[in-house]
């Protein structure tokens, strides 16, 4: 069958569950019902027969099979095996932490802290697991060799975009970030072959970012998308797709764990680029650090 022509990862060595939840929004309603059951309790799903699972999801066996294919499995038995393996690997969280879920109404601060930290750490780890080093490598290559790098992002993702821009700038790469769509579009129009455009959008549906990336691509720049959903619209205008693995819930809508996951990816790219020319990057970092030295007090020792 015709595979997507772009370089995204059909690779999910990390969590299968993570992979599935990323794909969730790209599934049809009936498949989503199946997916939710599976994600909610992988071990239980592994125990069920296909008919059983279909019934539980209020759908037909055919749909379950379609779901298997959608998430990259050959068939139901394979899914079962993988789910069982997956479930076994995750050593159940020691205490009954509210995993992935919303924060219970009566929670005290300590509980809130534990929950958030747990989910945040998880998002970071899972993101790293499912990141495809090969794709990263190519993105790093592109950035390291780029004449100019534009980073786009709106809302919460805009912070990440701006952060990345700042980082690249610090090691001497010419990078830009635009808080405003119009300016961004203008800039994208001026990109060309050899330049790189990176669009960040958690949902992958932010039209502003997609539009700008599209423009950049039309001008011949290499386009990179960073999103949580591997089949979202933004991936269609990207040459390279990098995904995060955050499962957001109500309160944390589109902004908490996903942000950290995005930052982790951005950091990886940054270090990758910096490592391309270690000496020069190090020098640049030192120089920029010195520059702000006069804005620090008591240079003295601090204790960790």
């Amino acid at each position: 069958m015709a595979k997507s022509p772009k370089i995204s990862a059909s690779h999910e060595p990390g969590g299968l569950i993570v992979h599935i939840s990323g794909l969730l929004p790209s599934l049809s309603p009936a498949e989503q019902r199946v997916a939710r059951l599976v994600v909610a309790d992988p071990a239980d799903a592994a125990r069920r027969t296909i008919t059983d699972l279909a019934t539980a999801a209020e759908t037909s066996e055919a749909t379950v099979i379609r779901f298997c294919r959608s998430v990259g499995m050959d068939g139901y038995p394979q899914l079962r095996i993988r789910l069982a393996a997956e479930a076994a690997r995750r050593i159940e969280p020691p205490d009954a932490r509210v995993v992935g879920g919303d924060i219970p109404p009566g929670a005290d601060l300590a509980q809130i802290i534990a929950t958030i930290a747990f989910n945040d750490a998880r998002a970071v780890e899972e993101t790293a697991e499912q990141l495809d080093p090969a794709v990263c490598e190519r993105v790093v290559d592109a950035i390291a060799g780029a004449g100019r790098i534009d980073v786009y992002g709106a809302g919460a993702s805009g912070f990440v975009a701006s952060d990345f821009q700042q980082k690249l700038h610090r090691i001497g790469r010419t990078a830009f970030y635009f808080p405003d769509v119009h300016t961004a579009l203008t800039s994208a129009a001026l990109l060309g072959r050899g330049d790189v455009a990176l669009g960040i959008s958690h949902t992958g549906t932010t039209s502003d970012v997609i539009e700008v990336l599209e423009q950049a691509r039309a001008r011949g720049a290499a386009t990179v998308a960073l999103t949580n959903f591997p089949r979202s619209p933004i991936t269609e205008v990207a040459d390279y797709v990098l995904t995060t693995a955050a499962r957001e819930t109500t309160y944390r809508s589109g902004a908490m764990a996903s942000r950290l996951a995005q930052l982790t990816v951005v950091d990886c790219l940054f270090v990758g680029v910096a490592a391309r020319n270690r000496a020069r990057a190090k020098k640049a970092l030192e120089v920029t650090a010195e520059a702000v030295q006069s804005h620090r007090v008591g240079g003295g020792r601090r204790r960790a």
Copy 2:
């Protein structure tokens, strides 16, 4: 359906594989052949179909089923699931993560990713562990009851400050962030009793931030410091001190893990504040989410 009538422990905590090899000698020759295959490579066995396994063991499917029963399973599918789980669990340990330290010069992307993610996740977890819920509680109280909240930060911490400002704003709290010291000072001068000033500085030595916080304190505002170093200068001008627990290394100087740790703290405060008035916060989040809805494309599922 009739469940197995016995209550005995078909429970072998030591591991299914161990269990099987234990009763290997008590099995019939043909079953032993099956058992040996299974023990030799559980993961592989889990992948095979019953016919396949039977052929490999030079026996019939019937014998494989008998073997399943002999080791206490209901049937072949159950054995498969258990084997998959077992195999997954035992592969885990070997994890040559580059802990803590700097990233080695010759590292490839995969190593870089693992290292960064590990350190980032660690920073988040450790930060949460050492956060004092009591202090957080008081800070949350102060923010929830504040007439106005100013958030200060420079450089990488500025990014976090701005993020927090935006979050508070989204749930209807009056919050400000100033990218520029002078404006910040002006604002601080206008604070008063009942207002809150939060200064973020990883090192705790950023004079700009300290200065502004000092000003705010002089005007009667409650001052909060968020830093990695509990004895750094900034803590001297703060009523409440919140600390992160990031151990940065050269390449990541002052900007990577610490940022994530800061964001985690900020998220905790945010959720804490939001939880003070759940209904209103939720409403506000929904409204703001709707506002950007028109900037999203196709709720859309992409094709497979």
